[in-house]
């Protein structure tokens, strides 16, 4: 701490600080440029976080130790994380549209920015101050002590008002994002009745783990005959078109496994294949007992979930006939 204090207390900057500045300042500018120019909002956020960390180092070099730490904790820690949270809510893949609503707005904006930059830089160049005082006196008791002494005496009213401001901001944010529920929550019974009334998918959707060959949620589970079932993937992923293809090797593996099982069952219990629902009726023909008719009717309703079973069972039935 004492070395740091002396470092910032000097009335001219050391070579070390110059090296730090010339290494980090270009990085900060590049980070700011990337924040403005990168099309993905997440990339912009990461570049901005980098720039903020570099600014924190500059604060430390300028003797503002408290602010340097607060910059890292509050800005890169809290504010940027809040930004990332909202980005995740809004959708990471959302990119800027390149369509200009106002013609020539981009060039006008760039020109305005350039003008502002020239104005600011020339203004600083005009007001050149050769020497500077340094913080030796002010930071004598330590930077935090000095800040606290000012904050709780001369600026105590402003400090209290900031407290009120933060409270109001917190209340405002919860009020803004709060959504009032207009209709009543459906009970489980009502949901069940509605599902039966609709009749499209009475049973629960097939679980992704059954016959799945992968842990990822965007990979569909495989039906017993090896075809991937779209129903096992989350509806949101299906709507976004983010369902991944199942590898052909995995499909072949399942097919081979099924064939092996079918052969095994064909040898060990030849008469069990009667329970086959729909496929058996197609391939089995007249020699099947009438019990298949009822099972077929029962299985007819629930679509994709049972077709796989049917295909596997039909293979079973074929084995049984031999």
């Amino acid at each position: 701490m004492s070395t740091l204090t002396t470092l910032a207390a000097e009335t001219s900057t050391s070579t070390g600080e110059a090296v730090q500045f010339w290494v980090l300042a270009p990085l900060a500018v590049v980070g700011a440029l990337c924040t403005v120019l990168l099309r993905r909002a997440v990339h912009s956020a990461l570049c901005l976080a980098g720039t903020m960390v570099i600014l924190a180092l500059f604060y430390l070099a300028n003797g503002a130790y408290f602010l340097g730490v607060v910059q890292i904790v509050v800005y890169t820690g809290a504010v940027m994380m809040l930004f990332l949270f909202v980005l995740m809510l809004v959708g990471v893949s959302a990119t800027d549209s390149l369509k200009e609503t106002l013609t020539g707005q981009r060039w006008l904006a760039a020109a305005c920015g350039l003008g502002l930059g020239i104005l600011l830089l020339s203004g600083i160049a005009q007001a050149s101050a050769g020497s500077f005082t340094g913080l030796a006196e002010a930071n004598a008791d330590g930077n935090v002590h000095g800040l606290a002494a000012l904050l709780f005496t001369r600026y105590v009213v402003a400090f209290e008002i900031t407290g009120i401001l933060l409270t109001i901001a917190a209340i405002g944010a919860t009020l803004l994002t709060h959504r009032q529920r207009i209709e009543r929550n459906k009970t489980q019974r009502e949901q069940a009745e509605e599902r039966v009334r609709k009749g499209t998918q009475v049973t629960p959707l097939p679980a992704p783990g059954v016959y799945a060959r992968h842990n990822a949620v965007d990979l569909p589970g495989l039906l017993p005959d090896g075809t991937p079932s779209e129903l096992t993937v989350n509806a949101t992923l299906r709507a976004r078109g983010q369902v991944r293809e199942v590898h052909a090797e995995a499909l072949a593996g399942v097919a081979a496994l099924e064939e092996h099982t079918a052969r095994y069952h064909g040898q060990r219990r030849p008469k069990r294949a009667v329970t086959a629902p729909r496929g058996a009726a197609v391939t089995g023909g007249a020699e099947e007992p009438p019990a298949t008719q009822t099972t077929q009717a029962a299985a007819g309703e629930d679509g994709a979930g049972s077709t796989g079973d049917a295909a596997a069972a039909s293979r079973d039935a074929e084995e049984a006939r031999k």
Binding site: A8, E17, F21, A25, A28, V29, A32, T35, V36, S44, A45, L48, T51, M52, L55, F58, Y59, N62, G63, A64, F66, Y75, V79, L82, F83, V86, L87, V90, A94, T95, D96, S97, T101, A109, A110, C112, G113, L114, L116, G117, L121, I124, F132, T133, G134, L135, N139, N143, L147, L150, Y155, T162, I168, A169, A170, G172, A173, L176, T177, R179
Partner: protein
């Protein structure tokens, strides 16, 4: 090295932030550029604090940080609300006061 270089850097960052606000359409990126401008102003205040040898500049920077935090909270809440009603975070789409 002259500490004025910090002032030039701050001016440059502020300009870049201003350009971003004017150029970008995504409301969140516009917000991030505003944060960049606030940070540039903070760097300026901290440098001035060192140049003049008192801590007033750092106190100002501290208050800017607190106000920026409050602003981010409310602003992001507004963005989330606009996104909910319009399914877009583009500033061009939010052209009406209400739907």
């Amino acid at each position: 090295m002259n500490p004025e270089n910090y002032l030039y850097l701050a001016a440059l960052l502020f300009t870049l932030g201003a350009c971003g606000v004017l150029l970008r359409r995504n409301a969140i990126v516009v917000f991030m550029c505003i944060e960049l401008m606030l940070n540039a102003a903070n760097l300026l205040l901290v440098t001035f604090s060192r140049m003049h040898g008192n801590l007033e500049g750092q106190i100002m920077a501290f208050f800017v940080m607190v106000v920026a935090a409050a602003e981010v909270v409310v602003g992001l809440a507004i963005i989330v609300m606009v996104y909910r009603s319009r399914h877009s975070a583009s500033v061009d789409d939010a052209s009406l006061m209400k739907l």
